[in-house]
Amino acid sequence: MESTNIIEGRNVVKCFKEVAAVVGINFTVKSGEFFGLLGPNGAGKTSVIRIIYGFSPLTAGHMHVFGININTGWRAIRYRLGVCQQENTLDPDLTVEQNLILYARYFDMKKTHARNRAEELLDFFALTNKRKSKVMELSGGLARRLQLARALMSEPELLILDEPTTGLDPQSRHQVWERLLELKKRGMTMLLTTHYMDEAENLCDRILIMDHGRIIAEGAPRELITDYAAESVIEIEGPGNELRNFVKSKDIRHDDLDDRIIIYTEAHGVLEEEIREKFCMESCLFRAGNLEDVFLRLTGRELRE
């Protein structure tokens, strides 16, 4: 049985008038997985997410969530998932607590149950002493935590997070991450989109990178790093021709950015040692390869918008 597939998209196509936003992608998200969906602006991430929670209709293809077809069973699906949208959709006129309890109502939740659930979540997101505050008066970090809490009111089996930490200060981001990891420990399946590569690298078990409506890479963060970048990275400012020739002759994976060269090597390898001795007189940076390297190598360095 394929019951472990929480989300299953087959040949998913989404067009807006004449523009194709998603061009026939296939992917699955398994139960308990923390799944990342990455891509530059306009890659089609939000379109995919909106299809999953039944906001945008599919142009072609199939989407099953919890094994239910989204076209026919959207209501049953929505009862079982929580969505933390990119934009703030909280009710600004209501208090923190009212926002939570009212939202539970949309899921036909009993009032006493909703009160208890709100209490738990206020505590979980450290919002208890803000319960009577108006949403309008909350800072960005608090509002985001409230929106997360609200998405969890219905005790969802799948949590969809569309850029949950955009615009937050480092303290708030770390707090959100901590909570998400805690939820992961409890076995929740999560789907995340983000522009922060460190966030995806830290949180996600598996990542899908999209560009121009297509999937261009898929795998665990470490796999992607070794496959498309390297474990170890050397950045050298103002590279000379000697270095360029050396890199080319040895057929080493690299990106030449004119005033800077980025070399992808094995950690503690012979090549790394050789470059260190021969070419690193000054301004040489040794660091671990990361998801941002992968992302930029796959989607390019040109601005998108």
Partner: protein, 263 residues
Amino acid sequence: MKRAKFSAISFRFRHVWIRNLTTYRRIWKINFLVPLLEPGFYIVAFGLGFAGLIGKVDYAGLSLEYTRFMAPALVATACMWNSFFETTYTSFVRMYYQKTFHGMLATPISVEEIIVGEIVWAASKATAAVTLMLAVLIPIGYANFPDALLCIPLAFLGGLAFGSIGMFFTGIIPTIDMFNLPTFLFITPMFLFSGTFFPIRGIPEWAGVISLIFPLYHMVELTRFFSLGAMESDPIFNLAYLMAFTVVFACLALFSMKRRLIQ
């Protein structure tokens, strides 16, 4: 999923209604002053200013003081203002600025239920306003008791009619300041030419025919019938027109709003 479907409408629309009530509860004390004071202002102003100029108005065989002729129409116009403004400006703010509908669309509520919830809420608000106005007009003898109480269910029907057409405009208007257009081209002429301030009988026939198109005319006739016990048209026809108008514009509102919200 792109076209509005009646099958997507369930009693869940009550959640939307409750949401609006919860938000409104914070400000209702101030908002309730308007329907309580408004008839007083009009009656005093027109009574002092117009009574000397006009004398009596002949309407449906009755010879009425001007303020008595006009007072029931105020009930109808209050119904119109309350519901129309709720589904235009207020719904637009919820939809566009507060993203309330987007938030709801991640829950088991459908777009159709949101639209129905908004229109029914607008009608409820209009009904509350009319009830408060009657609480002023009946004791001072400007509306017959108990017949005038029929204006309360009528206000709900009228609220659905004006709320539906307002919601339809919200579905097609690009920006919030464009609401000036339907307000100026539709609501204002309707406010003036629906037998509100003068009997339709007194104006040329072609103008009278235009008045028949306005739902407010039918509302005004019915409020006068319930308040004064006399009218110049057929109440069954008035009610039928209001119902038909509601059905047509509720459908248009569903289609235009769904097209706007779902991409």
